[in-house]
């Protein structure tokens, strides 16, 4: 079973940006773009990380706290634990897809590009030039638009603004996105305004990752981000009143966003 935590060797480490590394592991998975794995950093923590490539398995991780820091310290040949893939992943509909990635949220979107039957337009947003990654990979199968908060590369704009411009000037069958919840919040406003179906990859605190503990479940639907998510459609996003408002921390206590 893929749910037994197994440890694999790190075969390759690529520094994508000053804060983000991609780890290539000595294994491969089958799954759907947008799915994630639970990554065990021995002795430290186990955290949900999206799959940025299936075969070989790659994960692309931003250093933000203890576990990601410990992961960034790993070297080639070290072992980390993996179980999964988990969650639903994206379900593309239509032909013309606008893909919006913010920060490390860019990572899972790359796997969408294996689909050669779609026409992808991709918006990559980051704070500054050095934080843009995977651009070349996207370009192989998409029109790519880059923006940075400080204008150091691409357009000086938020990804949401660039996305709205594109939506105004083009016809898209759907929008898919992954990034900070604040970005998704504004983007959802935009897709709703323009009546375009969207699918967003969302984050909540995860313990089991398989739909057992209930920790990642949403108000008021009870959907579990690890199982019915992490990708939710516009129709679903409308029903989940907690999105963009609050979430639960490790103890289960509600915290405002």
């Amino acid at each position: 079973m893929n749910d037994v935590t197994k440890t694999y060797k790190i075969l390759e480490i690529k520094q994508e940006t000053p804060t983000i590394k991609t780890f290539t592991l000595d294994t491969a998975l089958e799954g759907t773009p947008g799915q994630f794995v639970m990554v065990w950093v021995p002795g430290v923590d186990e955290i949900p990380i999206s799959i940025s490539n299936f075969d070989p398995l790659q994960i692309t991780v931003k250093e933000v706290g203890e576990a990601t820091k410990a992961l960034h310290k790993k070297r080639i040949g070290d072992y980390i634990g993996i179980r999964g893939p988990y969650g639903n992943g994206f379900g593309l509909v239509g032909e013309r897809v606008l893909v919006v990635g913010g920060g490390v949220g860019i990572a899972p979107l790359r796997t969408l590009m294996k689909n050669k039957n779609k026409q992808f337009t991709v918006v990559l947003g980051a704070q500054t030039k050095s934080e843009i990654f995977f651009e070349e990979d996207f370009k192989r199968n998409a029109d790519v638009f880059v923006c940075t908060d400080d204008g150091s590369y691409g357009k000086k704009a938020f990804a949401t603004q660039l996305a709205e411009e594109l939506i105004q000037n083009n016809r898209y069958d759907m929008v898919v996105a992954c990034g900070p919840e604040i970005m998704l919040k504004y983007l959802f406003g935009i897709t709703e305004k323009h009546k375009i179906n969207a699918q967003f990859s969302m984050e909540r605190w995860m313990k089991c990752g398989v739909g057992l503990c209930g920790h990642c479940s949403l108000d008021p639907t009870g959907w579990r981000v690890c199982k019915e998510g992490p990708v939710f459609s516009s129709e679903q996003l409308r029903k989940v009143t907690e999105f963009f408002r609050y979430k639960r921390d490790q103890s289960g206590t509600e915290v405002e966003l």
Binding site: M1, D3, V4, T5, K6, T7, M38, W40, P42, G43, V44, D45, E46, I47, Y79, G81, R83, M206, K207, C208, V210, G211, L212, C213, G214, H215, S217, L218, D219, P220, T221, G222, W223, R224, K227, R248, D249, Q250, S251, G252, T253, E254
Partner: protein, 302 residues
């Protein structure tokens, strides 16, 4: 056919969502109720906010799970909205509580009782924290005191004592709870604990190193435990551990359980496992000409 009553509580069917599974919010409990559970249990509520252990907190194997979630809780005072929303659930709601002293048990129980759940389950059996729980469930006289003092502050709300199987004194503890006025026995919490070592990294995988074992692998031990309890206490027994399908449920009932808890099977068979198990039980009962699940309680002792 499946309707029954347990410790005075009417149940549409005998399947109960076990504590610590999916029970983190009113929303998910409601979803479980809609998925066919006869009753649901809120994840164990503690005296104050607690994060629980770091991940990995649950490990998954073909025939068992190991968990050391470590009783995360917002604390009973920080759940106002949940308490309100729990009212909308249309099956009985059991509130599981834990604490690290008798006084705290009384404090939490008193508050929780004021929110009027259908029953309060005392988790005197969690193997995953050092201060909380386990000791209470291994010592008959402490178990007695917890139950009797909680009874004093909880009016008529039925009190369930959830036991640990990991002691030589299970029967004594159950009897002590009975004498102290408990309304039902929940048997059991997880087994062991156990450990899983990753050989490549040479270390235990669970962050807490050890974790309670649950799931199909523990069923034979639970059946035997229930069988024995049934001969020694007259309280109704909620049989919990390793029930994955309708046959398991019926087996547990024949051993002496009046209702059955379902936890790990949510992992093995999905959130609609309650309905599926009920369908399986009903199918078997039809083939074998039983009219009511009540006929089957303890029949393996005949």
């Amino acid at each position: 056919m499946l309707s029954t009553s347990f410790a005075g509580i009417e149940l549409e069917n005998p399947t109960v969502l076990a504590a610590g599974i999916l029970g983190t919010s009113a929303a998910i409990l409601k979803r479980v109720a809609d998925s066919g559970a006869g009753a649901v249990t809120i994840k164990s509520i503690g005296p104050k906010k607690r994060e629980g252990h770091s991940n990995p907190t649950v490990l998954f194997f073909d025939s068992y799970l190991m968990n050391a979630v470590g009783l995360p809780t917002p604390g009973y005072r920080n759940m106002e909205r949940e308490w309100e929303e729990l009212k909308e659930i249309n099956v009985p709601v059991i509130a599981s509580i834990y604490a690290s002293s008798i006084e705290e048990f009384v404090e939490v129980a008193q508050y929780v009782a004021s929110r009027k759940p259908d029953a309060i389950e005392l988790n005197i059996s969690c193997p995953n924290t050092k201060a909380h729980g386990m000791l209470f469930g291994k010592d008959p006289s402490i178990a007695h005191d917890v139950v009797s003092q909680v009874k004093e502050v909880t009016n008529n709300i039925p009190i369930f004592a959830k036991l640990t199987p990991n002691t030589d004194r299970v029967i004594e503890v159950a009897r002590a709870c009975e004498e102290a006025g408990a309304d039902a026995i929940v048997a059991f919490n997880t087994w062991g604990p156990g450990m899983y070592i990753d050989i490549n990294t040479r270390r235990p995988v669970l962050h807490y190193r050890t974790g309670g074992v649950s799931g199909p692998a523990v069923k034979p031990l639970v059946v035997k435990g229930i069988y024995e309890l049934y001969e020694h206490v007259s309280l109704p027994i909620l049989g919990v551990g390793g029930i994955t399908n309708g046959n398991d449920a019926i087996e547990m009932i024949m051993a002496g359980a009046s209702a059955i808890g379902i936890g790990s099977a949510v992992y093995y068979r999905g959130i609609d496992v309650f309905k599926r198990i009920c369908d399986e039980m009903q199918g078997w009962m039809l083939t074998h000409d039983y009219k009511s699940i009540k006929e089957l309680v303890g029949v393996a002792h005949e």
